[in-house]
Symmetry: C2
Subunit: 104 residues, 2 copies
DNA sequence: TCGAAAGTACGATGGCTGTCAAACTTTGAT
DNA sequence: ATCAAAGTTTGACAGCCATCGTACTTTCGA
């Protein structure tokens, strides 16, 4: 497991159905910059956060690499768009609107 | 619960992450015609099928109505497109390609 | 060198959900 | 009138998954 080459719809949806993971992807999408795991301010414990990042990585949606003790996260935007054209954009847009109305 | 008016991203994703339910939606999308529950040839029992149709209805993705003993299903395409622009099209396209390569 | 910071690993656990069988209802055809 | 067909309802169950705490590793700074 960890086959980052093949992004499948099923695994992408399983990853993106979770609100925490979706917030990670949305944030990466918005900033267009690699971000440390710790910079996400997630409403879960560190171990749970690690779990979420792993699921995203195994779904092929992000890449990860270390900088010191910090683990950086990259959204694999081009690969996602190639495997699932239009899906990420639509999903992010919907998520942004949902989040905007939920958390003022 | 059954609030078909409000289509939310979260509930839509929860509904569409299941392959059986996604196949239902894809079929409705392809045929552009209302279809009986029984016409879907799903790989699950009747009671499970009922469950899946209910989840789709409660997520606001389909409408249902009776014709005799047959229960007809309508894809709420316009409403979905309004609530989640572009999402359904991208998802269906990806699902069709995935299904095409999976089931020859 | 020592300690704090950043994550990871590992169980354990609770809740959700997809699944089924069986019994039931309703409708239409014979 | 009867019977089959189409779904629903209910209850039960198994598996998965998000979650946590704790212990651990590694790295950097003081």
């Amino acid at each position: 497991m960890d086959d980052v080459r093949t992004i499948t719809l099923q695994r992408a949806l399983e990853a993106l159905v979770d609100p925490v993971r979706r917030s990670i992807v949305t944030r990466l999408y918005e900033t267009s910059v690699d971000l440390r795991c710790g910079s996400f301010d997630l409403p879960v414990s560190k171990s749970t956060a690690t779990h979420h990042f792993r699921v995203l990585r195994e779904a092929g949606l992000i890449d990860q690499y270390y900088v010191g003790t910090a683990r950086m996260n990259t959204l694999r935007r081009a690969e996602i768009d190639q495997a699932l054209p239009g899906l990420l954009d639509a999903l992010i847009a919907a998520d942004q609107r949902a989040t905007a109305t939920t958390a003022p």
